[in-house]
């Protein structure tokens, strides 16, 4: 049972994102802003930081692929960016000590990097024609605020859970 806990948690977050955009009003922080939930990715970064790099990257790749197939229908964008940014974040964590505040900052940084990365890719394949300054004003700010709130609320339980999981894994 405990083995399935982690995949179930991520699956829950995976569907939660979709429900979030469907039911929460679009103009959460003002009329023209676009807020994007990245709850799944925040949790994946926490997993990488508190359990291990290898696990984190494997989960990131699997859920990136799932995200691409189910929601985007363009395979490759999240499949590449989730593990790549997880890897970069793990490099940063090598020189930092792991505590909640650092984890908060690093995962926020990772989410910002993800948004910019997706923007650049979508710009390249003509999915968007937004220019960069507009993108920052319309999307990046509100998205960062929303995800910061999520990490503050859900980060601590996630950290506790992953630490416990890491301990049981080491014991086995």
């Amino acid at each position: 049972m405990k083995k399935f806990l982690l995949p179930l948690l991520f699956l829950f977050l995976f569907f939660l994102e979709s429900l979030f955009v469907q039911y929460v009003p679009a103009d959460l922080f003002g009329h023209h802003q676009i807020t994007v939930p990245h709850f799944l990715f925040a949790a994946l970064l926490f997993l990488m930081m508190f359990v291990g790099m290898k696990q984190g990257i494997i989960y990131a790749a699997i859920f990136g692929l799932l995200f691409d197939i189910v929601y985007i229908e363009i395979i490759g964008i999240y499949l590449f960016l989730y593990p790549f940014i997880s890897y970069l974040a793990s490099k940063i964590m090598n020189i930092m000590q792991t505590n909640f505040f650092i984890a908060f900052l690093v995962s926020l940084f990772g989410i910002a990097l993800l948004e910019v990365g997706v923007y650049e890719m979508d710009h390249l394949i003509h999915v968007t024609s937004l220019d960069f300054m507009k993108f920052i004003r319309l999307r990046l700010y509100p998205t960062m605020i929303l995800n910061a709130i999520f990490i503050i609320v859900a980060g601590y339980p996630l950290k506790r859970m992953f630490e416990k999981y890491a301990v049981t894994r080491r014991d086995e």
Binding site: F15, L19, Q22, V70, Y71, I75, Y78, S129, K134
Partner: protein, 293 residues
Amino acid sequence: MPQFFLNKRLIILLVSIIVLVALIGFSLREREKLSWPEQFIKDTSGWVQSLVSKPTNYVAGFFENLQDLTNTYEENKELKSRIENLASLEAQVQELKKDNEELRDVLGEEKTLRDFEPLPATVIGRNPDRWHEMIIIDKGKLNGIKKNMAVVTANGLIGKVKSVTQFSSTVQLLSSMDPKNRISAVVQGETDIYGLVEGYDDEKKLLMVKAIPSGAKIEKGQKVVTSGLGDIFPQGLMIGKVVEVKQDQYGLNQTALVKPGADFYDIKTVMVTKRSMAQADEKDLTDGKEEGS
């Protein structure tokens, strides 16, 4: 630092970038249908989503009902004033319909571009990254949905079916940018003016209707509907109202900014329209340009 770019990490990075480009290229090309692993995953997730979305729909509905209750008095007032006009309008419509039917009988033409069979569906998911605006609905191939069918709500057109799996399908909204996604539209007025719905202004939340001839006179508040010429959509589906008209970059065409009739965010149930009239052959399609009068 140089160590970072040496050894096998660099190779892994390069290989994954090549794979990435290949995968994106593979999924971007015009596909008739999704490959079977994709269909399988989408069906499975669609099943989970339809399980989850029912209880959440109830909860969300409950809160909405509470909100509605507070507005009841004012709404009632407004609706009462509207209902007076409605009776006369209804009689008029009835008469026109009868007239139309009779004339059609005389002509011997039964089906028109306007006819379609509506197929109700529930929204079970939405793409969380808001670049590709897509929703997932709970009806699929088994219910008779096909690619490219028009999807409407009570207030107007919202998009078209992008891909179909057995039990669910994905709808691409009008608000998503896709250079391949063009819809032939008519600005209703004394003379019909044709244009193409092409693109969406993210900041102003308005649709852009392009390729309108520069001489055409368009006024604010005129209604825009689908023309039915694109061979995909039925005729006469409401798209929105004109808000602003501006000249194109080179002054050859005009672009009208249109406020969509349907809300692209608060969507719960939709209707997929199955056009009754037979579609034209492939070779006719290539000649038939969606040009204005």
